[in-house]
Symmetry: C2
Subunit: 418 residues, 2 copies
């Protein structure tokens, strides 16, 4: 057969995963399955390939521009008459787990419990510009509660996620919470017109980078009325990041904000505070926006103190599934930044607790069969006791071989001579 020429690197923007990283990934996956399982979430999976129509339904926002599309096959592919890309493809790799969840829910609604608590862990693909630490294939980890209109959903999602993050090896973390309806009421109270909310929120979202003054300047630059900007800033100057802040808005925004919205937010914060079993703070953050416009109620984000950026977020999106499936369904979800958590654990050289002892057996070449059987029996005995035993032929350069095994984590090396 002819010599093949092989491309050795993975495809652009995707990566091979080493044994060391896999250990951490498997550990985190195990922790996620166990923790979320205790909260009654059931694992489901959908195919990585999704109908191109479902992926192009406008639910995915910018992600729809980043789809890896799959060529039609056989007779369906008509290259001669194809006018555009859409004529060539019938599927694509999913860019998130929410679109497939909507499809799954509508396909299986009759057999699913109500509410349905789903845990999804799976790869998604986005043909983003490659950059450090961001890959075109990455794992997402979502929990969603479909069919529960009350804040029981929010509380359970936040408790489950904080229990999970609390089991990881981080000092302290923070959950920030807000409500899309509070965001809107603050804008309405200040006198912004509803059609300008999206623009206002995009600017507000920069608060942590450019500060209150920066937000004010950008709002003015957009041409919003001086008075509206001043009232808006006045609210943010007075509101605090705690229950008192929520209560302040509840009173101040009376008339533009339904009272139950603020009351529910208080209950969520108080419940999480009362029950939490890990070291973290839950704070009210009236500047929290979350990008996706499909959120309809409480929104939240989780960040690990000392590391910039969020490691997860979510919120209530009561209208999305109904718009997608035709049956209105309240929904709320929390997504954890699996890849980011794995990266942080790798960077701090995290050691997995309770790992099995690792022993390497070195067998001299030419060992007679009866003696070899004894070595296999010994390995079997130790494996049954829970030890990891790797069988190896002894090499000429035994010193190098031992060093290599040590670097793989083999703490004991036993030699067997013929």
């Amino acid at each position: 057969m002819r010599q093949m020429s092989l491309k050795k690197k993975p495809v652009t923007g995707m990566k091979d995963i080493t044994p060391r990283e896999m250990e951490i990934r498997d550990y985190v996956i195990g922790l996620i399955k166990e923790t979320y399982g205790k909260f009654g979430f059931s694992s489901i999976e959908t195919p990585c390939v999704e109908h191109i129509e479902n992926l192009s339904s406008k639910q995915g926002g910018e992600n729809e521009k980043l789809i890896f599309k799959i060529l039609k096959r056989g007779e369906k592919l008509k290259l001669e008459t194809a006018q555009c890309e859409a004529d060539l493809v019938d599927g694509g790799l999913r860019y998130d787990l929410t679109v497939p969840l909507s499809r799954y829910y509508s396909n299986n609604a009759n057999e699913l419990p109500a509410p349905f608590k789903a845990l999804q862990m799976g790869n998604v693909w986005r043909a983003d510009r490659p950059q450090r630490g961001r890959y075109r294939q990455f794992m997402q980890c979502d929990i969603d509660i479909l069919g529960e209109p009350s804040i029981l959903a929010e509380i359970e999602l936040i408790l489950a996620t904080s229990t999970l993050v609390g089991k990881l090896d981080f000092e302290n973390f923070t959950i920030r919470i807000n409500d899309r309806r509070i965001l809107k009421a603050m804008a309405a109270y200040s006198g912004f017109a509803p059609e300008s909310y999206d623009t206002v929120f995009i600017i507000l979202d920069k608060m942590d980078k450019i500060g209150l003054e920066g937000v004010a300047q950008e709002l003015k630059k957009e041409g919003f009325a001086e008075e509206a900007v001043q009232t808006y800033l006045g609210l943010f100057e007075k509101v605090t990041g705690d229950l008192a802040g929520v209560r302040f808005l509840r009173q101040t925004l009376a008339g533009v904000l339904e009272e139950s919205v603020a009351a529910d937010l208080e209950t969520i914060i108080e419940s999480v505070e009362a029950v939490k079993n890990a070291k973290f703070n839950i704070v009210f953050d009236p500047t929290l926006v979350r990008g996706m416009s499909y959120y309809t109620g409480p929104i939240f984000e989780i960040s690990i103190d000392g590391f910039g950026g969020s490691v997860g977020g979510g919120g209530r999106y009561d209208e999305m599934i109904g718009r997608f499936t035709g049956n209105p369904t309240p929904a709320c979800g929390f997504s954890i930044g699996f890849e980011r958590i794995v990266m942080l654990l790798l960077e701090k050289d995290f050691q997995i607790p309770g790992k099995a002892e690792k022993t390497a057996f070195l067998i001299e070449k030419g060992m007679p069969e009866d003696k070899l059987l004894d070595v296999f029996r010994e390995a079997e005995k130790r494996r049954a006791e829970g030890v990891c035993v790797s069988m190896n032929m002894m090499k000429k350069n035994k010193k190098f071989q031992k060093e290599q095994l040590a670097s793989e984590g083999y703490t004991e090396i036993v030699e067997f001579f013929k």
Copy 2:
């Protein structure tokens, strides 16, 4: 926003996985990781998308016709000037884990231990004709030892795989073993020409379906010499499915079969017999062919008694990786039929041992906050004790709700009134 029209079914030939099936999949995955880990196999992962050139290198045989191909993106896609399919695509979904393993090994060889013991679990995609129980996306589970020329590799692979299958809930299973060099020596001894071996083996492979007589007839129909066919059949009539059979061939084929081949096969069988810790038989099967022509030495297959077909197989393929990467590398692997095992466990309504107790809390609507907090605290307490607790709002039709929860495996239901 306009009403979306959603395709509810998964794409053709792929499936949504239910919570019940996921439980079994997760259980089997956990068992695989644990068992193979004890034998010193390290998990690795490669991207699901592979260079189209690597997938089209002729290593994949018929599978190369079944690739899901991925459209080029952005400026690279030149629809106007595209002459053929190949101009449109730059990647494809992997159809097996062996091609990616070869690429991974050549990309990371300097950092990998020698020998390298790899465990891969991952989805592969083949655009096969859809049929019952076979899907276009399915999980493969391979263990491979790269860089070990001795039968230590074969023995470890068979012991690891039989230990795994032994932990599953099946009565008895059988491992059949042969060697590609014995297959060839039997054909050579009988007088078949080397260029006809492939044809002979394809017919021999039908032995379990059409019997010795059927094989004889088909060989004659192909036009092979009466004498060769008679000698060939004579060998199969005399050879037995045990060590005596191996020894018989060792003597009979002296001159056309290197003695070490039969001796090694004996050692493999004896070692596995001596150490095995599960209820299974390892038998010599001189009719075992295994389809792929890349095998160079021992080949094996595992089947569960009472269920037709194999649930795994493998063998030595010393020439493949070198042909692919340029560096000759001895290699041996065993692949387990993950989907088939899951299907068998589902069909026999397998109950996962040691599953957490499941309790559902039902909360009456309108419960005051202080009382609600007590319920959350009680749930937290039980979860910390290892119980799965699902929090639910009490429904009007409580009887139906309880039935539904029972069918989800909630054995205890606790009601909390306001």
